[in-house]
């Protein structure tokens, strides 16, 4: 049975895996700890579930710790999360006191692991306070911010900045997402895992079965958007685009697949709006899927003729990379990380309006050769830039730079 690294080598290339091994070699035996706020659910946990075993296989003694907290703790860290992304939130003093209290509890629980670690990755704001609570730490600490901190709500950033400015380095996904801090701020885009359930190859039988279950006709053209029911994803605008394009594309179908609405009052409201906009239209399916419906999402993306991500505002939007990896051209909103994945006219089209989306839908479905060529380029684009092996290589590069106290250049013997 192939090791995990060998499996990634089969996809990314053996030279890529060899490079990882050479980069990791000087750090073999170092203790690396990742800390985040959940072991299941969400993009960070998904990435760590792959990264941690890969680092282990490369000879780094890697572990993954999760902060524990009270409802008040997670209430305030949710406010941090929203505030960092620019939402105007109020931080009640009682909740901030709870954040400090729970942080000290977690620091006590994790003290020996974190103080003895050579490298600690703290993911997102929830565990950010651990650094200040462990002054006897000996390793290098990195704050990895996965969300867009480019335009934070100032009161939130005033609270968080003192917590993160003591780290040895921080990592943001994009230059636009970064804040000015005294330490080096590395820029490392996120990635997808080609071996994850949502990205592995599927047989046509399974794709057919998923389509049949959701009453989709594989003999007719299909548009798919996968995203939470969120106004910034512009699902209603996508329905408008679909209706503008449909008269020119007989039999056109649209799937809006999302999830999590039951736990999210705003999501439920948006889903209602989407259902209302789609009401009575037999060619539109609004699917509310459970968070673990990865295989269904995978099948829907593979069944699509064109995948859309018609967001008006977006973080990184990794669903775009997931679709490109499946050789699908993507029509994406001209915003955030979508711009980096949809290379306009190469791997899909960037659009600014429902009209623009409708025009590109019509064009692609009338020019199947271009549709196919864009899909192939999209897969190669992801192969080169958005696989987890690239992200791991960049993490290893940062780690080496820190443990060897390098500045611009480090030459290993």
């Amino acid at each position: 049975m192939a090791t995990t690294l060998e499996q990634y080598g089969n996809i990314a290339g053996s030279d890529v895996v060899r490079q990882l091994e050479l980069l990791a070699r000087p750090m073999r035996g170092l203790r690396v700890v990742h800390v985040n706020s959940t072991r299941q659910g969400g993009g960070v946990a998904e990435i760590l579930a792959t990264l941690v075993p890969l680092m282990e296989e490369l000879g780094l003694r890697t572990s993954w710790e999760v902060v524990e907290g009270s409802p008040g703790f997670f209430q305030v860290t949710k406010l941090f999360h929203n505030g960092i992304q620019g939402q105007q939130v109020v931080l009640p003093e009682a909740l901030l006191a709870e954040y400090r209290r729970v942080t000290l509890e977690n620091a006590e629980r994790l003290r020996s692991t974190l103080e003895e670690a050579d490298i600690v990755f703290i993911h997102d704001p929830q565990p950010a306070g651990l650094l200040a609570a462990l002054p006897a730490r000996r390793g290098k600490w990195i704050w990895r911010c996965h969300i867009d901190a480019g335009h934070p709500h100032r009161p939130v950033w005033r609270f968080l900045r003192p917590l993160v400015q003591g780290y040895d380095a921080c990592i943001f996904s994009l230059p636009d997402f970064a804040q000015e801090l005294p330490q080096p701020c590395y820029l490392i885009p996120p990635s997808i895992d080609p071996l994850a359930v949502k990205n592995v190859d599927l047989g046509e039988d399974e794709i057919d079965a998923v389509c049949a279950e959701h009453r989709l006709d594989r003999g007719r053209p299909l548009l798919v958007q996968v995203s939470r029911f969120d106004r910034f994803k512009d699902p209603v605008g996508l329905i408008a685009a679909f209706r503008l394009a449909r008269p020119f594309i007989p039999g056109l179908q649209l799937v809006l697949a999302g999830g999590g609405a039951a736990d999210d009052p705003e999501g439920a409201a948006v889903q209602e709006e989407v259902m209302a906009a789609a009401a009575g239209d037999p060619d539109i399916r609004v699917l509310s899927l459970p968070p673990d419906a990865h295989r269904v999402i995978n099948a829907l993306q593979r069944a699509a003729d064109v995948v859309l991500q018609k967001s008006t505002r977006e973080g990184f939007g990794l669903t775009v990379a997931e679709a490109l990896w499946k050789s699908k051209a993507v029509i994406g909103g001209n915003t955030g990380g979508i711009r980096l994945q949809v290379v306009n006219h190469q791997t899909g089209f960037l659009v600014n309006s429902p009209e623009g989306a409708a025009l590109r839908i019509r064009y692609l479905l009338r020019h199947r050769d271009r549709l196919q060529a864009m899909g192939q380029r999209g897969r190669e684009h992801v192969h080169q830039n958005f696989l987890i092996t690239r992200q791991l290589r960049e993490y290893l590069t940062v780690m080496l730079g820190l443990v060897r106290a390098a500045t611009d250049r480090l030459e290993l013997d």
């Binding site: 060899r18 490079q19 590395y186 820029l187 958005f386 590069t397 730079g401």
Partner: protein, 216 residues
Amino acid sequence: MAGLAIKDCALVSIATGRRASSLPELRDGIRAVPQESLYFHFWGRLLRPRFDDPEYHSDFASWAQHCLHDELLAERLAVIDPADFTDLERLREEVVDVIDNHLQEAVPVYTRPDRQFHFRRCQTVVFDTGQVITRPEVLPQAISALSLGSIYYHVIDARRREPVRKDDFRAWAEGLGARYQGLADRLGGIDPYFSNLAELREQLSVAAARFFAEEG
């Protein structure tokens, strides 16, 4: 005959915190940033995730086209080939001159906040692969099997290294004597600026293969 030890490198980008929203701000930034940042925006794109339309090969030209929508400036910046400059300060002067001249005939425009130019620099880690090329005859196959990081190190990075300042394959072939001067000339004749690293690897491998095929 001394072998050519193959190295590899990895690069990660770092925000400098400096941004530009207009052409005058870009010019001022180019004047102020460290040489490493300038180097990164011309050459670093070869070794980091490539997001932009590869029509223009410097970040400055891409930004002029995509964010300022100034095609004329994009063309003027794109034609600056960093391989022509052995000194990064001369390259910096050239870019600033082009922008200054352009500003005399163009009205500066401001980009949207989400379209700013972000000056970055890079951190590079170089490491030994343990591989040594011992005979020039194996170059075609050996080059085609190298990682893109190795291609970057031996072709792009090598041009900055004193005292030779030329790509390692060419320098190695020259050191092997007159018999391999033709090989050195072929390898040195490849312009790396307008290729991506995979294309460059292919061009180098083909050039070496042709030399040996013609040499018989």
